[in-house]
Amino acid sequence: MNGGELLILLALTLPLFAAAMIYAVGRMPDVRETLTLVACIGLAIVAISIFVRVGQGDPPALTVAEPLPGLAIAFRVEPLGALFAVMASVLWGVNSLFSIGYMRGRREARQTRFYICFALAMFGVMGIAFAANLFTLFLFYEALTFVTYPLVTHAGTPAARRAGRVYLVTLVGASVLLFLPGIIGVQSMAGSTTFTPGGLLNGRVDAAAGSVLLLLLVFGAAKAALMPLHGWLPSAMVAPAPVSALLHAVAVVKAGVFAVLKVSAYIFGPDLISTLPAATWILWMAAGSIVIASLVALTKDDLKTRLAWSTVSQLAYVTSAAMLPMASGLVAGGLHMVFHAVAKITLFMCAGAIYVATGANRVSEIGGLGRRMPWVFVAFLAASFAIVGLPPMAAMWSKFLLITASFGSGEWFTAAALIASSLLSLVFLMPVAFRALFSPAGDGAGGEFVRPGGTPVTSLVALCVTAAACVVLFVAVEPLADYLAPIAAVSFMETAP
Amino acid sequence: MSWIATHFNYVVVVILMMAGLFIVFSSGNLIKRMIGLALFQSSTALFYISFGKVSGGTAAITLDAQGAEGQALAAQLDPAYVAQFGVEGVVYSNPLPHVLILTAIVVGVATLAVGLAIAVRVRESYGTVESDEIDAVSRVAAEQAEPAP
């Protein structure tokens, strides 16, 4: 077994091992949470090592089993997956830090199960990130659904159960009815489901069959919350804030758009995508998703729900990027996946920090809180800038690239939707921070801390780190874009003017 | 009409078969249903045996043609026939269907025995061999076991 295989194996087994250990020491919270943090750091190191190896042109690969000929459980890392893994593992660490403060501050029940499920979710994410074929991706994608189900229903209330049911039914239903048939279709057309640079199906299907498969696969990845399969995401906001932060800004939803990007880049390939009518239809759907979700976000008073609708809108950015008939769209999509994750996790952690300190979870309740919780709201403001796409935030670049790409490929409709959505998010996000920071003291009901001392320190550190990351990534965008370039390179030369 | 005359054995088979099936499905009495089943199986036996029969054929018994029994049998045959085919060419009915149906009858008897044994146990357990009453008892028992939600 060479180093690359070992690294992949480590990335997969470490979260599993962590989950087992957390279970074993579940009665000792301090040990349990130390263990979680150690596991986060370990996984981040492994993910970064893989990331570096891929950058050096030595991508790790590993085949675990082959139940049937042509149907293997195999891993092979490419730049997009490496980036996804690094993003998820680092943010898992930050989020764990936040969780410790949040869960202790709220004295939540069933904390051991909570940490176990998180570790297991990371197992799923690592498998998705490194999958060498659609079948393997599907396996871990499903596993991720099931291990995150207990997190969504964490509160145990009837509302949480209902949300959990919607979550399972939508995600599993879409995978079984759409995604899996799509995979079988790919298998029967191409004889395998391996992710192939340039597109596995490129040159093997006609426009009709390709369109059907594209629709099946894109809508089957319901974690990407493309309308009309977005309903589970806002309803899953009954989960505790750390769950929303990691799962519904980073792991789960990003697994969805990651799957869409992978399908676009490696199953269809930019060349084939540009010839499929279904890609255009999906672009329209995504444009609709972008604008409608932003409009709905405007009407929501519950802070987390508002953020969730904003996520629906932002996820559709990435889906659009994947469907643009231009290879550079893929790079923009990959970048946006990361930058949005960093910004959105900050926003969710801020929402959680406000909730744990004051019990307020509505936009209307937070007036004037900014004076008592300046760090939280400054972070919130920074992340809001990122979502809107203002400098000096990293997300500006990805949005810029996206709009350029859509204009470049003549999809003015998408470009218009992107610009409209930026303006709308300006309207629904900015007032939150402004209201808290700049309105006169005593305005609003949520002035008192329900928890003495306000937001726990660990939580505060966590959200400041990610807010800072939004800015730091602004200057690091070029190396990242270069890193991702290979995913589009195969046909970049052909489509470039 | 001539078709019926030449195929009368099949007509009988079909009538027997339908009668048996009719009894099986129309009767509620377990014993009568078994009788119907037996009738149905008998029609199969008749079917096999009748298509194994070769007109004018004898029983398929191997004899020494030159021995006393063989000579005696040959003496009974039509002399013209013996002159044409010889004693060796005696036509005999196909014995295989007979053998097969012997097996099938044994199987049928065994099935009948098991069926009647079950009918006896039903009678001991339910106190009746009428399907309707058995169903009624079962339904009452089921309702007692599972109160309506």
């Binding site: 049937l68 | 199969t44 044994a117 399907s131």
Partner: protein, 506 residues
């Protein structure tokens, strides 16, 4: 694992393996009937079933090495003599019967004590071995009439076994009676069909029959024989809508028999039907293709949808799983109806997968039945807490039933769906997907009750199954998982079996 390299018996023994796989349980049945105690009967049953499974494994290895095995009973060559003729398809099904039979025999040690009158234990074991011998014989035989005899030997055994469930649930008696009536009608139809074919071809050997039917043109006797055979075997195989006997027999019979029947009895009948459909009847015969396209496929689809829905709305757990079995037979027939090697191979694989998963599920319920007399779904609330291992084994079987990845059921569904797509039958593909979702609905209901619901206060508490049940149960569940990760063993046999059926045809 390569079966070619599998030598489990001496060559001299392997040469006699086909007949031993049948004869040992048959002799065992006589011995068990005469056994002095239930315990002794149980031991005879385990040993005989195990020897039969071992011989089936030896045969499977030999088939993979040598191709079709011909075994002439008493040294008389066909067509005069009766021959056993084993190809890869038969080897696979016989292996399934042997394996499930052995595990069921081990399991019976505990379950009989809870479900059958003590004085009947020896006879019960005799009936069980009779059923096993009959099924293996049916699978191995090369003679159409002989198949009928074996079919009835196994059926007579199972009628009595279903009826033996009356101690726990007296509805077993009418169910057994109904099963007997339907089964006998089915078998008699089959005999009539064979009679027609014999009349048309003058032979009972299936291979000879196939050769001679190939030379006949449109022939009413052949068509009538085809109809009778398919209808008769359809009853035995629980082909929709001829499945009426099955839910009662599975739901009320002893657990042992539900598991054994669900795993093997319908499979043996389906196997025989496959032999006739794809081997005996001439290729290209209009009625054959028409039957596959316009009868078998719609009936399979109807079974999938209707019986899955019936399972969704069933209240008794075992009845639910029984309806699911009929639906699964529909999946298998959908595979057949594709009428090509990949469809048949997928269907054979599905039969094996379904046998293993259903056996695990019924065995788990049997293990629970030792401690609680639960029937309704709600009575099983929270059993996962009291009997975690049993519940997990049940869960694995259920996961395989749904087609969860990494279980054998997934690969099975995958293959049929892929074959359907490759054959351009989009509607079969769609029916499969819809059926899978319906399966998910009822299995989800069961899992939710078993694992996540609190037991009702005052309800009898389930106990973990005894070791004698857990070991075979976990082996069954483990096989469903193992073949989900490395399916080479059943896959080789299924592919070789399908290929051999399709290459003999011109």
């Amino acid at each position: 694992m390569q079966l070619e390299a599998l030598y489990v018996a001496q060559p001299a023994l392997t040469a006699q393996a086909p007949i031993l796989a049948i004869a040992v349980p048959l002799i065992g049945a006589c011995a068990a009937a005469l056994a002095p105690s239930g315990r002794a009967g149980w031991m005879i049953s385990v040993v005989a079933a195990m020897v039969s499974a071992w011989m089936a494994l030896a045969v499977a290895g030999e088939v993979m090495r040598e191709g079709v095995i011909l075994y002439q009973l008493g040294g008389f060559a066909p067509p005069a003599g009766i021959a056993l003729r084993v190809d890869a398809m038969g080897a696979l099904i016989a292996l399934l019967i042997g394996a499930v039979g052995t595990l069921a025999a081990v399991f019976s040690g505990h379950s009989l004590a809870a479900e059958v009158r003590p004085e009947k234990h020896t006879l019960f074991q005799a009936g069980f071995l009779l059923a096993q011998a009959g099924m293996v014989g049916l699978v191995y035989t090369g003679d159409a009439f002989n198949a009928f005899v074996f079919l009835e030997v196994s059926s007579i055994g199972t009628y009595a076994l279903v009826a033996a469930g009356e101690r726990r649930d007296r509805r077993a008696l009418p169910a057994a009676f109904n099963y007997l009536i339907m089964g006998t009608i089915g078998a008699t139809f089959y005999v009539i069909g064979v009679g027609f074919l014999y009349g048309a071809t003058g032979t009972l050997n299936m291979a000879d029959m196939a050769a001679r039917l190939g030379t006949l043109d449109q022939n009413a006797a052949v068509q009538a024989g085809f109809a009778f055979i398919v209808a008769g075997l359809g009853v035995k195989a629980a082909m929709f809508p001829l499945h009426g006997w099955l839910p009662g027999a599975y739901a009320h019979g002893p657990s042992l028999i539900s598991l054994f029947l669900a795993a093997t009895a319908t499979k043996a009948a389906i196997y025989l039907m496959a032999r006739f459909l794809f081997e005996v009847f001439p290729d290209g015969a209009a009625f054959g293709d028409m039957f596959l396209q316009w009868v078998l496929a719609p009936l399979g689809a109807a079974a999938v949808i209707v019986c899955s829905l019936q399972a969704v709305f069933a209240r008794e757990l075992r009845r639910m799983i029984a309806f699911s079995s009929v639906a699964q037979v529909g999946f298998i027939f959908l595979g057949f109806s594709l009428a090509n090697a990949s469809g048949l191979s997928a269907a054979l694989f599905y039969m094996t997968a379904h046998g293993l998963m259903k056996a695990a599920m019924f065995m788990a319920l049997g293990g629970l039945a030792i401690s609680i007399g639960a029937r309704r779904l709600e009575d099983f609330a929270g059993v996962a807490r009291e009997a975690p291992w049993t519940a997990v084994a049940f869960g694995i079987g259920a996961a395989s039933l749904v087609g969860t990845p990494l279980t054998m059921g997934f690969l099975a569904k995958w293959q049929i769906m892929e074959a359907a797509l490759a054959g351009g039958r989009i509607w079969i593909f769609a029916v499969m997907a819809a059926g899978s979702v319906l399966t998910l609905v009822y299995v989800g209901r069961i899992i939710e009750v078993m694992f996540f619901r609190e037991p009702a206060p005052g309800a009898p508490r389930a106990k973990e199954s005894p070791v004698g049940v857990l070991v075979p149960l976990l082996i069954l569940a483990g096989l469903s998982l193992w073949f989900g990760i490395d399916a080479s063993l059943p896959q080789q046999l299924a592919q070789a079996g399908a290929a051999s059926l399709f290459e003999v045809r011109p």
